[in-house]
Symmetry: C2
Subunit: 111 residues, 2 copies
DNA sequence: GCACCGTTTAGCCTATCGGCTAAGTAGTCG
DNA sequence: CGACTACTTAGCCGATAGGCTAAACGGTGC
């Protein structure tokens, strides 16, 4: 994964994490070690299609993957992408010499 | 800060971090150890009021604070709120027994 | 006090988000 | 194959996000 891909991944991941329900879904699936779409939907007050959309978004962000088990779809957390977002915060480590780190940290920038 | 406050803080922080330009602003201000609004605006391709709005949002999220220096406003990163978001990821630590951790992880939930 | 500079506020406009309901699809079981 | 179950897709709709320009505002310096 090169720098540009990483940046794009970061973008979709942070976008996905921007919604409280999606963060909660992720956490719930993690704690239970995987869940079917129905189980997830059952735990929230939203209509089923709403959850379905959140699931798709999370999957597109690479934070969830699913596997078909007959009728149901079984979702599990993909920790790699999650770690990517987690490590974004490392840029802010207090004592570190920021200069020594690789460049290309963000968005469109001048000069 | 009680659990509800924490949840609300998490919400605004993740919302603020959802935009690539805002992540970049935060990072830039961190690396430079503080910057004036003008310096920040100068580094991005957006119109000044657009950056000004991003700055306000970041400040409302508690991720930036500013101090008046005569004509200019000098912004610095508030690391406490940043740490809050950073620690959200701790919920997903691999080997940990999630059950042992404090409850109240997310959003409106049934049962 | 007036002009100017740095920055914000107001307000507009388009696009995306995130809910919903209704309709479709795919897999299972009698 | 037909009915049921587990979801998804389509499509509507109101609210929010995020650009912009123009106008206001608060300090400084002549």
């Amino acid at each position: 994964m090169d720098a540009r891909e990483k940046l794009e991944a970061l973008e979709v991941v942070f976008t996905a994490l921007a919604h409280a329900s999606r963060r909660q879904i992720l956490l719930t699936v993690h704690i239970r070690g995987g869940m079917s779409a129905g189980e997830i939907a059952g735990r929230f007050e939203y209509a089923w299609p709403t959850i379905s959309r959140h699931l798709r978004l999370l999957e597109e962000a690479g934070l969830l993957t699913h596997e078909k088990r007959g009728l149901t779809r079984f979702y599990t957390v993909d920790y790699e992408r999650l770690a990517l977002a987690h490590h974004w915060f490392d840029w802010f480590e207090q004592g570190s010499d920021a200069k020594a780190r690789p460049r290309s940290t963000g968005t469109k920038q001048r000069r």
